[in-house]
Structures are given as C-alpha cells and as structure tokens.
Symmetry: C2
Subunit: 88 residues, 2 copies
Amino acid sequence: MHFLARVFVSLKPAVNDPQGITVLRALQRLGFSGVQGVRVGKYLEVRLEAADRAAAERQVAEMCGKLLANPVIEQSRFEVAEEAPATH
Amino acid sequence: MHFLARVFVSLKPAVNDPQGITVLRALQRLGFSGVQGVRVGKYLEVRLEAADRAAAERQVAEMCGKLLANPVIEQSRFEVAEEAPATH
C-alpha cells in the first residue's frame, strides 16, 4: 500500500527563531501591521510503501526521531494518508 | 480577534528538489527501504490580528503572494484558526 506522510517540523517554542523574526519584520514593512509573530519550520512530503497505515505511521515516527527533526530544538508532527500508487 | 495561520509552501511538482533527494537517500541509507520520494518545503506559523476570519484569510493569501512563496517555483496553501490572545 502507498502512503503520503505530511511532516511538520518546527522549532520548540523556547528556541529563538531568527528566520521567523526576519519574515515578521519583512511582512510589517510590507504593510501587514496586524502580524504579531512568525515561526518558520519545515514541511516534508514523504511517499512510502508499507503493509498498512499503522506500519507507515511507525516508520514515519522513526524517521522523525532519527533524521527529519532535531529533538533537541525541534518538535515534529505528521499525518499519514493512503494514496493511489505513484504514476510519476 | 487573534488568528493562527499555518502556511505550507512546497515546490511545484515539476521543479527539481535536490534537498528532497538528499533526504530520500539518507532515509534509504538508514534502512527505510519503503521510502519512494521526499519533497521538502517550508512550514510557517503566522500569528495575526484581524477583524474576522475572512479578513485574516485575505491577508494571509496576500502574504503568500507577496513574500512567503515564490509563485514561479512554489505553491502554497494555508489554514487559519482563531486563537486565544497570546500571553507571551
């Protein structure tokens, strides 16, 4: 079975985010005066084959712990959805 | 009213993604043999004040078009949710 995992990796709330501050200032300079804060993280789409959804979720959780997120400063969450086999 | 917008920016499907290929190979090297493809994008959390949800959505759509995504090579989508006023 084919699955698409959407993985969201963001800095933990206590971690300083200079990239987010830069985007915040740029938005304010563009006239978006209502913007109060910006945090920048990563968004990954992982396509994988697994026996079932539970197996896919187990694998993605392991990927997050081993490679996709740095557990010291980042937190991750993900959603797994079944997908038709890739045609590309 | 306070809103939290979650913005997902990803490369258009036809655009080459060397970062995604690097992550794919690293996952395969770690033993995740079922992984077939990885695309890497950005995930932004934008906190903003707006009169209502429609106004917040309009602003976030404009931010995506003007700054958060490069419309030539990237596509973006977002979700806006009402939020209790920030206490930090």
